[in-house]
């Protein structure tokens, strides 16, 4: 079962569809829920996975829901494993055109390697919701147009 799916407005065919995911055992969902709600309030369609998802579950949901991007919130310190794993599984399914971005407690030093692994952007503590929304508007394109 999925969490909340924001209502889709039929007339907005180009509305971005975003997956907000909590992957791994990390239960810190304050940030993920705030981001999900902020993105929804900004007019995007948001699917929140709920907690304790494996990388495989997140990838399956992303593909089934045909999302335009996957955003992951990780505060457990397992980002160096989980981000690349999700990207690898998307690739295996031939869905590596779905961009992955995210945030959490992620040391600066780890960010270059995550970007090298294909993470489009990493937001760290203190990032505002506006900053994230602006970034999504600028960098995430609807996959259904192409």
């Amino acid at each position: 079962m999925l969490g909340t799916v924001s209502e889709a407005k039929v007339n907005e065919a180009r509305k971005l569809r975003l997956l907000v995911g909590k992957v791994g055992l990390d239960g810190h969902d304050r940030g993920a829920k705030i981001i999900a709600r902020a993105l929804r309030d900004a007019g995007f369609e948001v699917i929140y996975t709920g907690l304790h998802q494996s990388p495989q579950m997140v990838v399956d949901t992303a593909i089934q829901e045909d999302v335009d991007a996957v955003s992951l919130s990780i505060l457990s310190g397992a980002h160096n494993y989980l981000f690349p794993k999700v990207i690898e599984l998307l690739k295996e399914k031939g869905s590596d055109d779905i961009p992955v971005f995210g945030g959490g407690i992620i040391p600066e030093d780890d960010i270059p390697a995550l970007k090298e692994a294909g993470v489009l952007e990493v937001f760290t503590p203190g990032a505002s919701t506006d900053e994230i929304i602006d970034w999504v508007r600028a960098h995430i394109k609807s996959r259904r147009e192409s």
């Binding site: 969490g3 055992l25 990390d26 829920k33 948001v46 929140y48 397992a78 494993y81 040391p107 203190g126």
Partner: protein, 567 residues
């Protein structure tokens, strides 16, 4: 007017002294406001609780009776503190939460802290352990030893406490869903050290209700989880009398984004639910309530935090005496641990966090805490480094031994503002408790997502205020600056995970297979029959059953929990 008394100021102008707040507002204040207004239209706490301009005796009213509201230290309703001498008698316990990587690494950190004057241990477990999963579980990948120490079997627990006699330290273990299993392992270590159970002391967090509400580390649904807890309470009451069975925690509720009042209300409501469960299980309230303790967050808003702690003591005392009919004064006492607010720490200008932690720790002390953890300034980046942990501990020592705030009991008692805010937080918390009662109690409210939604709404509101700049976070939305490289932080190497997996494999290979199987089967039978689970759990961990194996053994009987997420 007759009640106005003219006085003369230094420059010879005639000025009047107000006899009531209204008079002051209409006179001196109005003039001042006409000249220059205040900095803001409304003033409020970090939790958006409105704060008035000035508090006077009028806020307390004629009916406000200090004997009834405050009492005296060590006496009902304990508003001024649970001990008659408070910090004049004994300082709070300085208890820094620690755990990372392997049991051996954490053991070294414990010894370091004990050598530097810390007086109690506090164990942080890694996420797989907290979720009742072994290090080789599919979902454990990448998480082993990351946020705390990895414990799979008794072998790890033996290593964790090697060289630390369990009759000479008190240990706090922050674990919930698998709390009983880890507790059984602790007892098994005591057994091997030759320490009798009645000399073992410490605290188990063991607060599953707040997991469903805020921290989200669960295994079974609420009702069977409560049964494990009441089994543990019954066992400790008989066998481990110095053990604090539940540390009813507001900390995580606050970290998840609640207001101070929500933290107070939801936590006390959880406490009442545990007392109800104990009574329903046939225990006498005075046999177990003295071993319940609390765990609060201390956030940035200094007075709000102090008043929350004072209100908590008064509410708990009244609830225990009036609602549950407890007669032992120890059942009425809300004893608690306080930790500074991790969620208030910033990744920007990290040294500023030392100042935040100082203010928050001082609030905990002025609120009368029994023990305190001060966060390290680098925790918004990673697990704390040794240097940051030392600064955090020194902060407590400076408050305790230099600041002078420990010289008298409850120095803020009787302040118009502090008493009015304490009263208001008490009222608002009790209003929440009534709503939860009306929903059918804590578990029913959790099942309806009530607390979860209230917290998510408060968290979102606060984030919006920060984004709009109506609430300030220094260095984040105000006074920003470009920074050079981040400070040195602690990293857990992937080697920890590999070593842990190898150790786990060895335990499984070397243990007595038939003793293990019999013990696990006996545990499952106890779950089915309703017998107390702790003795068979103790036997299972003695047989080196792992945390994951013990927890999984109960799943067929108890089921698993799945949250309906709300955003």
């Amino acid at each position: 007017m007759s009640h106005r008394k003219p006085t003369t100021t230094d420059d010879g102008r005639v000025k009047e002294t107000s006899r009531s707040r209204d008079e002051w507002q209409d006179g001196t204040l109005r003039e001042a406001l006409q000249g220059k207004g205040e900095r803001d239209v409304e003033f409020s706490t970090v939790s958006s609780l409105p704060i008035g301009r000035l508090y006077t005796s009028e806020d307390l009213g004629d009916a406000w009776d200090p004997v009834e509201r405050l009492g005296f230290p060590g006496e009902y309703p304990y508003t001024r503190g649970v001990h008659p001498t408070m910090y004049r008698g004994r300082l709070w316990t300085m208890r820094q939460f620690a755990g990372m990587g392997s049991a051996a690494q954490t053991n070294a950190r414990f010894k370091y802290l004990l050598e530097h004057g810390q007086t109690g241990l506090s164990v942080a477990f890694d996420l797989p352990t907290l979720m009742g999963r072994d290090s080789d579980d599919e979902l454990s990948r990448g998480e082993v030893g990351k946020e705390g120490v990895a414990i799979d079997s008794l072998a790890d627990m033996e290593r964790l406490f090697e060289g630390i006699p369990l009759d000479r330290v008190s240990t706090s273990m922050t674990i919930n869903a698998p709390a009983a299993v880890v507790f059984a392992m602790y007892l098994a270590v005591a057994e091997k050290q030759g320490v009798p159970f009645e000399k073992v002391s410490g605290t188990l967090q063991n607060d599953i209700l707040k997991e469903y509400i805020a921290q989200k580390e669960w295994i079974y649904p609420p009702r069977p989880s409560l049964r494990i807890i009441t089994d543990l309470i019954a066992y400790c009451t008989r066998e481990v009398p110095r053990w604090n069975t539940i540390s009813i925690s507001g900390y995580h509720i606050r970290e998840a984004g609640s207001t101070a009042v929500q933290e107070l209300a939801f936590t006390l409501a959880d406490g009442m639910a545990y007392v109800d469960a104990g009574i329903e299980a046939g225990l006498d309230v005075d046999a177990f309530a003295p071993r319940l303790s609390f765990f609060w967050n201390s956030h940035n808003d200094f007075f709000e935090e102090i008043c929350k702690l004072r209100a908590a003591r008064r509410i708990w005392a009244r609830v225990m005496r009036e609602r549950f009919g407890a007669r032992d004064p120890r059942s009425w006492m809300c004893r608690f641990h306080t930790q500074t607010a991790g969620c208030s720490l910033t990744a920007q200008q990290t040294y500023n966090n030392i100042v935040r932690v100082t203010v928050q720790a001082l609030a905990g002390v002025l609120g009368g805490t029994q023990s305190l953890h001060t966060d390290s300034y680098d925790e918004a980046l990673a697990l704390p480094s040794d240097h940051a942990v030392t600064v955090a501990l020194r902060t407590q020592q400076i408050l305790a031994e230099e600041s002078g705030v420990t010289n008298t009991i409850d120095p803020l008692g009787g302040s118009y503002f502090v008493e009015a805010l304490t009263d208001e937080m008490e009222r608002e918390a009790l209003a929440y408790v009534e709503r939860i009662d009306a929903m059918g109690g804590v578990v029913a409210a959790i099942e309806q997502g009530f607390q979860q939604r209230e917290i998510a709404d408060a968290a979102y509101k606060y984030q919006t205020q920060v984004d709009q700049g109506t609430k300030t976070i220094v260095g984040v939305n105000k006074y920003r600056m470009d920074e050079d490289a981040a400070p040195e932080i602690l990293k857990i190497h992937p080697e920890v995970e590999r070593a842990q997996l190898a150790g786990l494999e060895r335990v499984r290979r070397e243990r007595d297979a038939s003793r293990f199987e019999n013990a696990v089967a006996a545990l499952r039978r106890a779950a089915e029959s309703g017998d107390n689970l702790i003795p068979p759990m103790l036997e299972a961990v003695r047989a080196y059953a792992t945390v994951g194996e013990v927890c999984q053994a109960l799943v067929p009987v108890f089921g698993t929990y799945r949250e309906v997420s709300v955003i």
